[in-house]
Each structure stands twice: as structure tokens, then as C-alpha cells.
């Protein structure tokens, strides 16, 4: 079943899916191939911070300008994926007020609106803040749900004809002298192999950019930077809390639905996939973020995770924090003589649309098409769905009184009916696909109970037969990566319970 298309996009993160939507709105046929599920890379492993650009205003004005401009666009087109919380940049006694003033000036120059708040005003808004803070600057930061954002983009692209192939890897390229003719693809679930022919190829693999380029014998200077994040068991802040200083470790706390996300670090990494969060990183993040919100010291953590940022390096050397968080678009025709091949990498989640626009512009230019981009004008399909926490809670409340079956996940109140509905839509290939699309395993016990129930339900529905304990073990092993670094206090207690269930009662 070989496939023929116009443009092949490799990578199902925000950038790749954004390009898919952009091309589809311009009427250009495309196929997107992704070796995991949507947002398996950095798009799904970040802070969920909807940047105003404030963080980069002083250090990287170009990235800051891109952020605030996209921030305004996404508020219009993707309001249902965004919680408009605002953000505060707080100055602590050990921080310089000179920097704050420089920050205010830089925001003004880059077009980021600010309001300077006194200590009392800041504490009135965010009672958990360190009471010794000197002042706070309010900016239009927010929280964004990357997975919903990517799914919405995919949904619209699909409606306009884009084909998405998940869990499928590109294993080799069919090369000509000055262009790529096609790729050999392998379905990682059933092992099937086939060819995809296209006129143009886009490498949107993020941190995997060099792994893909290697297939074409190419290489770019990409620094991989590991960012570690922690999730608290409850929401401690209503606004994004940033430390008003040059970007450093542990200076952002993002509220996200019912939790807060603490981050981050920037550690050079050689590994794209097999990296771990270490206890010292956890301790560092707690130490730093609790300077802003002291209650973090006493708050239960439910998970640690990390993502790998791909940072494009120009020739000058320097600290990773000083490398621009802006993006890079490489025309391999100009750079390497492969005229139908483009790499897009770097950037921020909040600039995904702009990255997609610039990439699609380049494709159009190569194709000789002059249809302009419209992704900034057209709202994403689900914009009218309830997005506010309160509205969603109301919806849950209604389903509890209705005939929705038992609650599979007691932490996040997921009813059986909701999951069954999702399963009926089909197309889900593995356990992670289901977990990605629900709040299952996102709560306090991190799937310690509900994943067993999910598998039980799959057997009930005859969607699984035999071998489920292998899947269960696989899930628990994956879960362990996020749990192991944060096991003390109540988390350790609960982990003992979980271990006694699976290794004890169930003898897995």
C-alpha cells in the first residue's frame, strides 16, 4: 500500500501538525508521519506555559516579539486550549530592582503590556507568594494545553484532506542526486513496511532532527537541552509566577487545571529518548521555586518529567540559556543541494503557528503557489466547547448524576462512559494513545489504579485478549520514571501501596 502525496511532513509535534493544518488550508495535499503518538516529544513534555514573551524580553528580544504576537493570535484562534491566567514576574529581596526596571523597558520595546504591582497588590492576587517579595510585574502569560492544541490542529487538517500516520517510523530515504524521491516507512505496531512518495519533505522532528537528517547524510548544529519539571498535587497559584531575573533554573510556576507545574532546568543532554530525572534536580527545583511560593516545601508532588528542547546553535559558543529560543528554518536546497527538503526546528510551543506559516510559505514558494496563510484568521474547530475549569467541572457533575457508568479514575473523575466513547471512535493503537486522550493516569495516583481498570474494561469490550499483564507491567515501568524521583512523604506511602498490589497481590 504505497502512498503518493505532495508534501510529506515528518514529526507529529505542534510544529508538524501546525504545518499540516497550514498546508491543508492552502489546499496542498500532505501526509504526516509520526513514530509515536501526537506530542510525543517536547510538545508534550513542557511547562504548558503560554508565553507572553516576558521571559525573553531582556535576553532575546526577537523571540519575545514572536511570542507576544503569537500570544495574541492564539487567544483568538485557540481560546479553548488556553487558560488566560496572566503572569507575574516577581522580584525577591535577593533580586535586583535594576533588572526589574530593565525588564519593564524591554517589555515596552517588544510590545508586551505590563502593570507594575506593589507587594500588597501582588499578595492580594496570589496569597501563597513569598511575603517578602518586593514587587511584581503583570504580563499576559497563560497556561496552554499542548495536547488539545495539537489535536485540534490535526482535526482540522484531517477535515481538509491531510492524512496522519501515527506509530510509524521513517526507516530510510529514497534519494536522488539533488532531491528526495520518497521514504520507506515502517508501522511500529504491526511491522508493515511501505513507501511514501512525495514532491516535498519537511523534517519537523524537533529534537530528533539530526536522527532524521542522518538518513540523508546531513547534520546540523543542534544542542539538546533537558528541562525537568515537577507536578504538584494541587494548584498553588492562579497566575503564572515567574522570577524577575535572567532566565535560570526553577524560576517558573505554571498553574494547570488542578495542579501547578514547577520548572525548569536546562541541562545539556546527549540523549533524545532515554533520559531520567535525578533526585538532585528535584531538590534544586523545590529549593528554587519555593523561594517564590514557600508552600511548595510542604506540597505533595505527583510526578517528575523532562523534555528535550532542540536549540539551534549558530557558530558562537555559549550557555544554553543564551542560545535563542527562536526557531530555525533550513532550506536544504540552498544549504545542501537537496532542493525539495526543509528542516524546521527550535522555537517555542507558543510560536508553533508562526513556524508552520514560515515553513509552509517556503514550500509554497518552491511549488510556485501564492495562496497566503490563513491559520491566524481561522479559529480552530473546538473553540466553542467549554474550556473554563468551572464549565468542565459542571459537565463532570452532570455526567455523575447521569447514567455514565462507574468512575474508572477516582483522582480525575473519569467515567467509564467517557472512555468507552473515545474507544468507539477507534484508531487508537496502544495504551498510551488512550491515556493521551483522557485524564486517566494524570491524577494523584498516576494510574496506579485506573490503568488496571482500563485494561479490564478493554477485555470487557473484547478489545483486548490475553497478554494484558505485559501491557500493565509496561505501563507501571513507564510510570516509575516519573514517580521514582519524588518518592518521600505521602507519595512514598502510596507507592508502597501500589507496589504491594502489583508485586504482592497480583504477583506480576
Amino acid at each position: 500500500m504505497d502512498i503518493q502525496t505532495e508534501v510529506l511532513i515528518v514529526g507529529g509535534g505542534a510544529t508538524g501538525v501546525g504545518i499540516a493544518r497550514d498546508l491543508s488550508l492552502r489546499g496542498i495535499p500532505a501526509v504526516l508521519i509520526e513514530k509515536g503518538d501526537f506530542t510525543s516529544g517536547a510538545s508534550g513534555r513542557n511547562h504548558g506555559l503560554f508565553h507572553s514573551g516576558g521571559r525573553y524580553a531582556v535576553s532575546d528580544p526577537e523571540a519575545a516579539r514572536e511570542c507576544i504576537s503569537e500570544n495574541r493570535i492564539l487567544r483568538r484562534i485557540a481560546s479553548h486550549c488556553i487558560e488566560e491566567t496572566d503572569g507575574l514576574f516577581i522580584s525577591l529581596p535577593e533580586d535586583s530592582l535594576d533588572f526589574r526596571d530593565q525588564f519593564l523597558r524591554a517589555c515596552e520595546e517588544t510590545g508586551i503590556p505590563t502593570t507594575l504591582l506593589s507587594r500588597e497588590e501582588a499578595l492580594a492576587l496570589e496569597p501563597e507568594l513569598n511575603p517578602d517579595l518586593l514587587s511584581a510585574v503583570k504580563v499576559p502569560d497563560g497556561a496552554i494545553n499542548p495536547f488539545a492544541l495539537v489535536l485540534e490542529n490535526a482535526k482540522e487538517a484531517e477535515k481538509h484532506g491531510t492524512k496522519f500516520i501515527l506509530h510509524t517510523e521513517v526507516t530510510s530515504l529514497l534519494m536522488d542526486r539533488d532531491k528526495i524521491n520518497g521514504v520507506r516507512a515502517k508501522d511500529l505496531i504491526n511491522g508493515e513496511e511501505y513507501l511514501i512518495h512525495a514532491s516535498y519533505f519537511i523534517n519537523a522532528t524537533g529534537a530528533w532532527a539530526n536522527q532524521f537528517l542522518k538518513l540523508a547524510g546531513l547534520h546540523i548544529d543542534l544542542a539538546l537541552s533537558k528541562g525537568t519539571l515537577l507536578i504538584t498535587n494541587q494548584r498553588l497559584n492562579q497566575r503564572v509566577i515567574n522570577r524577575c531575573r535572567l532566565p535560570s533554573d526553577g524560576d517558573i510556576i505554571v498553574p494547570s487545571d488542578t495542579v501547578s507545574i514547577l520548572g525548569t532546568t536546562s541541562i545539556r543532554s546527549e540523549e533524545v529518548e532515554n533520559f531520567e530525572v535525578t533526585p538532585p534536580e528535584v531538590s534544586l527545583l523545590i529549593k528554587e521555586t519555593s523561594k517564590m511560593i514557600p508552600a511548595i516545601q510542604e506540597t505533595r508532588l505527583i510526578r517528575a518529567y523532562a523534555g528535550i528542547r532542540p536549540l539551534f546553535q549558530s557558530e558562537e559558543k555559549g550557555q544554553d540559556r543564551e542560545i535563542s529560543r527562536g526557531f530555525t528554518l533550513i532550506d536544504h536546497g540552498k544549504r545542501d543541494g537537496l532542493k525539495n527538503f526543509i528542516t524546521i526546528t527550535g522555537g517555542k510551543l507558543v510560536t508553533y503557528r508562526l513556524m508552520a506559516e514560515k515553513t509552509s510559505d517556503l514550500i509554497c514558494q518552491k511549488m510556485g503557489i501564492d495562496t497566503p496563510c490563513s491559520t491566524h484568521l481561522k479559529p480552530l474547530p473546538g473553540v466553542s466547547e467549554p474550556s473554563k475549569l468551572n464549565d468542565r467541572l459542571k459537565k463532570i457533575g452532570q455526567s455523575i448524576t447521569a447514567d455514565g457508568g462507574e468512575i474508572l479514575c477516582d483522582c480525575e473523575l473519569i467515567r467509564r462512559e467517557e472512555v468507552e466513547g473515545l474507544l468507539k471512535e477507534g484508531k487508537l493503537k496502544d495504551l498510551q494513545d488512550i491515556l493521551h486522550r483522557t485524564r486517566l493516569a494524570k491524577g494523584t495516583c498516576q494510574g496506579g489504579f485506573c490503568v488496571y481498570r482500563l485494561l479490564g474494561m478493554l477485555h470487557d469490550l473484547r478489545m483486548a485478549e490475553r497478554d494484558s499483564n505485559k501491557m500493565l507491567k509496561g505501563f507501571l515501568e513507564e510510570r516509575w520514571k516519573g514517580i521514582r524521583p519524588i518518592l518521600w512523604g505521602t507519595s512514598l506511602k502510596e507507592e508502597e501501596l501500589i507496589e504491594n498490589i502489583y508485586k504482592g497481590i497480583f504477583n506480576l
Partner: protein, 409 residues
Amino acid sequence: MHFDLIIIGMGLSGLMAAKTASEAGQKILIVGKGMGSLSLFSNTIDLLGTTSQNGKMWDVISRWIEDHPKHPYAKVGMGTSKEALSSFTSLFPPPYSFEAFGDGNCLIPTGAGTLRPTYLVPSTMFAGTNLREGDRLIVGFKGFKDFYADYVADQLSCRGITLSLPEALHQEVTASALARFMERESFRETIGREIKEKLHGETRVGLPALLGVRESWKVKKDLEAIVGAEVFEIPILPPSIPGLRIFNRFKEWLIQRGITFLLGHFISKAILKGKRCEGVHVLNPPVSNFYSADRYILATGRFVGGGLVADEKKIFEPIFNLPVAQPKSREDWFGKSFFDDLSHPVHQAGISTDSSFRAIDEKGEVLLENVWVAGSILADHHSVDEKSREGIEIATGYATAKQAIEHGA
């Protein structure tokens, strides 16, 4: 009020200590925050799961003791361990009795469709052991989310059915509610008949382990009479109804013997003087009482039970602040793999004791002369991986009570 012995902790080890001391005529107070791991994990009595099915249990334990001289079993000794187990089983005369199959472990099916080795099995689980492929039917209930008949049946290569509950008022039913339903004759009639209709020649029928909190033997017998096949229970996710039965049996027996039984109470402070405990403040918010005794047994369990507490840096024992043997830093508490690393070092952390179960410092000096330590809080075992939990609890509960009494004599 003054007692001969105060036992802190109401899990299996504390209850065994209470029974043992009560039989020696002691005046006892037992204080417990909860029911310990009994209400969570204990369905059967594990002694040592590392042994193969064919090994003779006591031979295997004897070798285990030789290989693990610091293990709680080694401190209790073979003879006393056997006595302890007999004392436990004497509390459960037939029909609801605990029995071994042959000399070694038997295999019982679990809620994940796996087989699990264990030593003593309550009579409601007998028919689940030594199954042949295809000869059983697994039965689950719609609306009960902690057991999936098809999941279990698919792993065990047999058939599963899920019944709709006639008496469930709500969409969702809990284990304890189902166990109470089972105690009703009309409920048994209804589900029994439905199972009988759906039987395709299977000779044994497995249900989740909730055949009544009380009179489970009768529940099983009644169902068998209606269905016309043998019925057995399958251990499932917590809470453990079979564990609750063990707790209730001890509780009833101990209260009948006149011991003071304070469930839902915990120790807010222990009063220490030199190397002795002089008394404990027992809190049942908002009421606090002071009790003293000649001797004390600490049987507060591990992390789940609250006997051990971990902060970001270290593990400690909150009541007497006894030293906890533990890995050097938090980085060493857990292995990198959940399953592949055999046992996570944190599970071997605990209180180090001398051979009479009194806590010692690193020089081997006894820290508190009138406090004995029993149960899973002890160091040098990893009961989850060894599958030795109940065995250790029963043996050390019994042994510490004997030691404490002997000491007072």
C-alpha cells in the same frame, strides 16, 4: 490507667502479640490507628513465596534462616515460628479455616489473572487452587470497577461472565457493599441462578474475594448449592474483605478476653525516661489520654501504616524516634526499574533489633529496655518480594509478646 503491656498497632503483628499476651494472663491495652495491611493486602497467609511449589515449607524456611541470619524469621527461630502459626490457625476453626495444601506453597489465581504462590488459604479459596485449564468460570459484576472477569479469564484461558447487579441502587458498587449484599439470601439466590444458567459445564466458579464479611463459608456453600459447582474467591485490589474477616475474628476474640481495644486512636507522644518508656499519650481527636504500662510492643507497620515516615532526606520512626536502618541517600532508596530491580533497598529499611526484638543502636546497645518491636517495621526483610508478610507479622507478633512476658517475669 496502668497496664502490663501496651501494644501499639492493630495490624496482624499487633493482634498476634495481643492474643499471645492475653493467653498468658496479661492486662493489655491495644491501640491502633487502623487495621494495618490486613484491610489492604492480606488475603491468604504467605510464609515465603520464593520457594517452589514442591519444596517443603519448613525445610525451605530453615535454609532461609541459615542464609539470612538477620532476617526476622532467624530471630524468631523455627520452633517458635511454628508455634506462632499454630496459634494463629487455632483462632480459625472450620468451617472458615486456613489450611495448607501439602507441605509447600500452592498457587491461587489473582485479580490480574496471574497465579500467586501462598501457604495458608482460607476455605473460601480452596477450590481456586490447582486449577486445570478450562474447568472454571470467572464471574464479575457490572458496576464493580475493581474486578474484571474477562480480564482474569483471558489470562487463565477460561470463560468469564459479567453479571448485572439486581440490588445495586447506584451505578457503582464498592467491595464492602458487594460483600454485604452477598450476606443476603435473596441476593445469593438471584446471582446464583444467573450463574447456573450461564454455566457451560464448568465445575468451578471463581468470584472476586467478597463473599460476605461475615459467614463467608455459608455464602460459599449456599452459592454452590444453587449453582451446582464449586465456588472460590479470587484476591483483588484493596480493600481486602478476607483481611477484614481476620481482623474481625481477632477483635471479637480479644474483646471477649477483656482486653482494652482502642481502634482509631494513635500515639501523639511517648514519654521516655532513660532507657525506659514511662507511658504514652493516646489521641482520639480531640480527646487525649495518658496510659502507662510495664512493657510496650511497637507494631506500627511500614509507610502505609505510618510506622515509618520519610521526608525528602531520611526515614524516621515517629513515636520513639528509634534509629531506622536505611540506605545512605534518597538516590539509593529505589532502583531504576520498577520490576527488574529485584527489591528496592528502601523496603529493607526498618528498625534493627537484638535477638529479643528490642531496638539497638549501631553499636548493638539496646535503646529502650521495655519496648519490643514487631512486624513489618523491622529491618532486614523485604516482605513484598519474599512474599513473607503475614508470616513475619504472625511470627514476630507472637515472639515479641513471649519475650515481653518473659522479661517481666
